[in-house]
Subunit: 182 residues, 2 copies
């Protein structure tokens, strides 16, 4: 059992073939967020870690805050911790060049976690305005946080497939999902 | 078994009687950080959650990044997640008025996690300069992050018993401990 157990549908999801573009990978993360809403297994957020060289999926995770009674169980944190647990190292750079693909702009906690995790790249879909429009709170981040990640040697690609990602928040609202940080 | 298992010495530590002052509580968190170094069971950081009304200890935790292969296993995150798991709620405000006592200024990730955790107060000992003086990295936080927590209704008391807390970093360095974010 992982440190952050994932829902059964995710454990049974067929692992995709190598995904070679950022767009394919972010769409995969967005699909996870949509499936999490559709299955009623957590908040509208998904994250995936890919090997940037081979395109191989390393880890996938979804938000588990409410069902797992854990305020830190954001998709990004779950993906980091579960991948590290499996690899036996506290930093993903021992696996290779790893990228984080998150369906939404990481919140203050998750963006703070990124430099500790050992990833080389962050790609995200929806931005904070999209999350906040349905009532989520992204927290207080450093000014120019993307620039600051870049200064640490972490590439950042923002708002890739934003529309598809933001659409999942509307789906969540339609489903009457809990907005726990509202 | 907790989501973030703690070392045996911590599990066997006698629970203190109710601690009624911030100073007693922060000294307890600092003692955890020192015991973690002395036992060689993780980084020089400790955290405790107290019921602010009764003074009862709710949770105690130490940094487990290296021994548990988990970049998010900072003392504060472990304390939040384990307390929430036990209480069956993703927010500590269902337990009552809970305060976080951390031996050191929370890093970017942990300070971002504080508003999500449902605590009403943060008290810390050492500050970022103390942590950075031995090579730890505190990350990029929001300007005036303490003010921003206060705006969210979270009381902040900074650098209480700072000297005792900073002393643990020197002890860690003497012991040749790993500075994993250096």
């Amino acid at each position: 059992m992982s440190r952050f157990p994932m829902p059964e549908w995710l454990e049974n999801l067929p692992k995709p073939d190598r995904l070679n573009s950022d767009e394919e990978r972010i769409l995969f993360a967005i699909e996870l967020s949509r499936l999490n809403v559709g299955n009623g297994t957590g908040g509208p957020f998904g994250a995936a870690l890919f090997d940037l060289d081979s395109g191989e999926l390393i880890e996938m995770a979804v938000n588990r805050v409410v069902p797992d009674s854990c305020s830190v169980a954001h998709a990004e944190i779950c993906a980091f911790a579960n991948a590290q647990e499996r690899s036996g190292s506290f930093t993903l750079n021992t696996i290779g060049n790893v990228g984080l693909y998150s369906s939404c702009e990481p919140c203050a906690m998750c963006s703070g976690a990124i430099p500790w995790a050992g990833v080389k790249k962050l790609v995200y879909g929806a931005d904070r305005a999209d999350a906040e429009s349905v009532g989520f709170d992204e927290g207080d981040k450093a000014d120019q946080w993307k620039e600051k990640l870049r200064h640490r040697g972490i590439e950042v690609i923002a708002e890739l497939c934003r529309e598809q990602a933001a659409d999942v928040f509307l789906f969540y609202r339609e489903q009457g999902g809990t907005v726990y940080n509202g």
